[in-house]
């Protein structure tokens, strides 16, 4: 059944043009220069570590490569997501868009998907460089867990971009939104320790607050498959799928919150 808005417009038809516009905007902002930086770092580190870490060259290059992919994508993602709407408000180009037959939530989703496409392209390109380097410099073989760890990096981005975009709409300050997103990222990786602290702390109030924080913040350790590449039994695929679904739903919650805030904004 097709859903129509009160004005008779079909819901969702504007998402793709907005996403396409976001992609073009990011390409123009020379965001892909970060890929060149990645190539230089990886080429350099693979040369250095093949001499410094005998017998573990493949492991070291894989770890550094996946860490760089994650960090570069995180920086690109947070920066792009935070500035997506704020810059348009600052440049007043948003007024022009808001005069068009466009739902505000469509604008948010379109912008969000555009950033994700750029990040996905970045991850695939960097991953290809990493695989090429590993093949050229070591006797490394591709494992399913390696692919899953790259997929999990993208799902972390699905979450953090939604968080950053919503934070930018709520705080309307790019610095605060970036700090909030960064803090979410850090605490998300620290969630197992948060739970441990909550279990051990005596104060009822502090315990409650820590548990609240623990469940409110996404558990990024669940997505951190790159740290689990060396575990003999790996992570069962049914749990991986469950975690990825959790990531999608968590991002959806933030997008709904962001859309609600954006719908109430006065332009």
């Amino acid at each position: 059944m097709e859903t129509c808005s009160v004005s008779g417009r079909k819901n969702g038809v504007n998402i793709l043009p907005i996403a396409e516009y976001t992609i073009m905007e990011n390409i123009r902002s020379k965001i892909f220069y970060i890929l060149l930086l990645f190539i230089f770092i990886m080429a350099g580190s693979s040369l250095v570590f093949s001499s410094l870490a005998p017998y573990t060259e493949a492991r070291v290059i894989t770890d550094i490569g996946l860490a760089c992919i994650e960090m570069f994508t995180l920086m690109t993602g947070i920066f792009a997501a935070v500035n997506l709407v704020l810059q348009e408000i600052e440049n007043r180009t948003i007024y022009l868009l808001m005069t068009r037959p466009l739902h505000r939530w469509e604008y948010i989703i379109g912008r969000y998907l555009g950033v994700l496409v750029i990040l996905c392209f970045n991850i695939i390109t960097m991953l290809s460089v990493l695989v090429l380097l590993l093949k050229l410099t070591t006797s490394w073989t591709l494992s399913p867990m390696f692919i899953w760890s790259a997929v999990a990096i993208f799902f972390k981005m699905i979450i953090i971009v939604a968080v950053a975009l919503t934070a930018s709409l709520v705080f309307t300050s790019s610095i605060t939104a970036m700090a909030f997103s960064f803090l979410t990222w850090v605490l998300g990786h620290f969630s197992s320790e948060l739970k441990l602290m909550a279990e051990r702390i005596q104060s009822f109030l502090a315990k409650g607050l820590l548990y609240l924080l623990y469940y409110a913040i996404p558990n990024f350790q669940l997505f951190n498959l790159k740290d689990k590449l060396g575990i003999p039994e790996g992570m069962p695929l049914d749990i991986v799928s469950m975690v990825l679904l959790y990531g999608l739903i968590y991002a959806a919650i933030f997008l709904v919150i962001g859309s609600l805030f954006f719908s109430k904004k006065e332009f």
Binding site: Y55, R59, V186, H189, F190, G230, V256
Partner: protein
């Protein structure tokens, strides 16, 4: 409250319940596979690396960094030796001028490289599944430096964390532990039997091949030791001078 806000809030509640259910199910079925922060090890350094690794989800990479630091430490001067003295010793070995031919430069000096065990435990605290730390680290600490208890403690940790009867790594750690026990009581015959099962000449690190060659020698199996040193000399060209020295001594023993 407008209709869209009500729908928005309702979807947030429903999605939160689904997310909470998925998360708790995943967390209950998959136990966090690393040691908590309260069990953190310290060496001389401050724990910034560990904290950074946990905050950014980069434990495996941090373990690599500690392992590289460990290898550099073991390749550098011992405690009480200056950098110049160390370089002088290296140069002597490279030119074959060293007088203590029977052992490596720091063999059987149980006080040398005291931090080795602490560095290895720091690496495996970050990534307890890092096989090479247990495998190479225990060989250096136990078989070379003859600090058997430290090496056994490291290997036992490796066996506990890497329990998987179908894994070659798991069995190699168990073999290393058994061989170390025999080596400690100077039962070289049994130590060799286990080391031979554990070591694959084409695949094992140099340090383990040297351990086996030295254990052959200690057991009086000079021909086997000579053969293995020949293999080492071919496989690792940078070991040629060391291997030549060893082969000369072994040839003399076989003749005499």
């Amino acid at each position: 409250m407008s209709k869209s806000v009500v729908w928005g809030l309702a979807s947030i509640i429903i999605l939160s319940v689904v997310a909470f259910t998925l998360r708790t199910t995943a967390e209950n079925r998959y136990i966090y596979p690393f040691s908590p922060v309260s069990t953190m090890h310290y060496v001389d350094d401050n724990p910034y690396l560990e904290l950074g690794a946990m905050f950014f989800g980069l434990r495996s990479m941090a373990a690599d960094i500690v392992w590289i630091k460990t290898l550099q430490y073991y390749g550098g001067p011992t405690e009480g030796e200056t950098r110049e003295e160390h370089e002088h010793h290296i140069a002597e070995e490279a030119h074959g001028d060293h007088h203590h031919h029977h052992h490596d430069r720091h063999d059987a000096d149980t006080t040398a490289y005291r931090k080795l065990y602490a560095l290895c435990t720091r690496a495996v605290w970050l990534d307890p599944y890092f096989f090479h730390v247990y495998n190479i680290g225990s060989a250096a600490i136990g078989f070379v430096q003859e600090r058997y208890d430290e090496a056994a403690a490291l290997l036992k940790e490796g066996v506990v964390w890497n329990y998987n009867p179908n894994s070659v790594h798991y069995w190699r750690l168990n073999y290393a532990l058994a061989a170390l026990g025999y080596e400690k009581v100077k039962d070289y015959k049994n130590a060799i039997a286990i080391l031979e099962k554990m070591i694959d000449p084409d695949d094992s690190p140099l340090i383990l091949l040297r351990v086996l060659a030295n254990t052959y020698e200690k057991n009086g199996d000079y021909r086997k030791s000579l053969k293995l040193w020949k293999f080492i000399s071919h496989k690792f060209p940078d070991q040629e001078i060391k291997a030549q020295q060893k082969m000369k001594i072994l040839a003399q023993r076989i003749a005499g």
